[in-house]
Subunit: 178 residues, 2 copies
């Protein structure tokens, strides 16, 4: 990753959202057309040869990259949502995250049994939200083989957690020691 | 719009999020690859000949379609966020919405003076959030000439509000009387 040109578009914000956390802000990358397109291409490319049926993105930043990757791979999109946002029958899963805890929800009819789903998010830290998303998708019969992420913070254990779930793990930028 | 094939993928949910509201659920459309791609193409096509510098999408569903349209038009993306999500210096604007009130935020450095921005969201009701987004973008020097939406509920006044702000208004599906 050393010298990866995408790194110039990640802003490091110390002590956000709380003291001791170095926040990796992707908004400069989102705003830079060529780099955004390149990030999307590189996040999607391992899955081009055998594309999934659907891309699932985790609210909210995962909606941006997930929508783009769904467009790139020509698939549908599943929003993995925070609670109380989905109007039809849903399933819910709690999880622990880096700064507290949360819940995620999926519509029960968002996927058909056996459909292959690629999970997308901007960043993996502890992997709690991604694990919950995989759990929910699999509970509905989806085949979740892989996750694609812009940033990995491997010291926080998310990559290992997802690999232990059997996912092929793909991340463009890895920041060790965070 | 009568007979528009996209309509088959909008689910009408009565009394959500509260009694008397007929909620237009776009998740079936998101999950249907061909229709999602078609919706994205049609939302973006009026802007292809003279594309904007950036697409701005309103959190959270506007991130999905906004990300796709940014990819389609080969632009960068600005997330118009709910409060407390942006780590760098930000500007904030309050607005009234259909079921209560809210605030939106932008990073102060998300756009350069004179850059042309296309606003994207899934649905326009009262137009409160879209108006706040236009206000914020213009306060930072952006040129916001147009808004592109999947669904318009013109009886709630959003279309008129945005046209009064000088925006070219583009929506694929219009539900009168809601």
């Amino acid at each position: 990753m050393s010298g990866d040109p995408l790194l110039a578009h990640i802003r490091n914000v110390p002590d956000y959202p709380k003291k001791g956390i170095l926040f990796r802000d992707i908004t400069p990358l989102l705003g830079h057309a060529a780099s955004l397109r390149e990030a999307c291409r590189r996040m999607a490319s391992p899955f081009e040869a055998h594309p999934p049926d659907l891309v699932a993105g985790i609210e909210a930043r995962g909606f941006i990259l997930g929508g783009m990757i769904a467009h790139f791979l020509n698939t549908g999109f599943i929003p993995v949502r925070k609670p109380g946002k989905l109007p039809a029958r849903s399933v819910q899963r709690e999880y622990a995250l880096e700064y507290g805890s949360g819940k995620l929800e999926l519509h029960q009819d968002c996927v058909q049994k056996g459909q292959r789903v690629l999970l997308v998010d901007d960043l993996v830290a502890t992997g709690g939200s991604a694990e919950a998303a995989v759990w929910l998708l699999r509970s509905l019969g989806a085949v979740v083989e892989a996750g694609s992420f812009l940033i990995d913070l491997p010291a926080l254990g998310g990559k290992k957690k997802l690999e232990d779930l059997g996912l092929k793990f793909h991340a463009l930028l890895s920041f060790p020691g965070q």
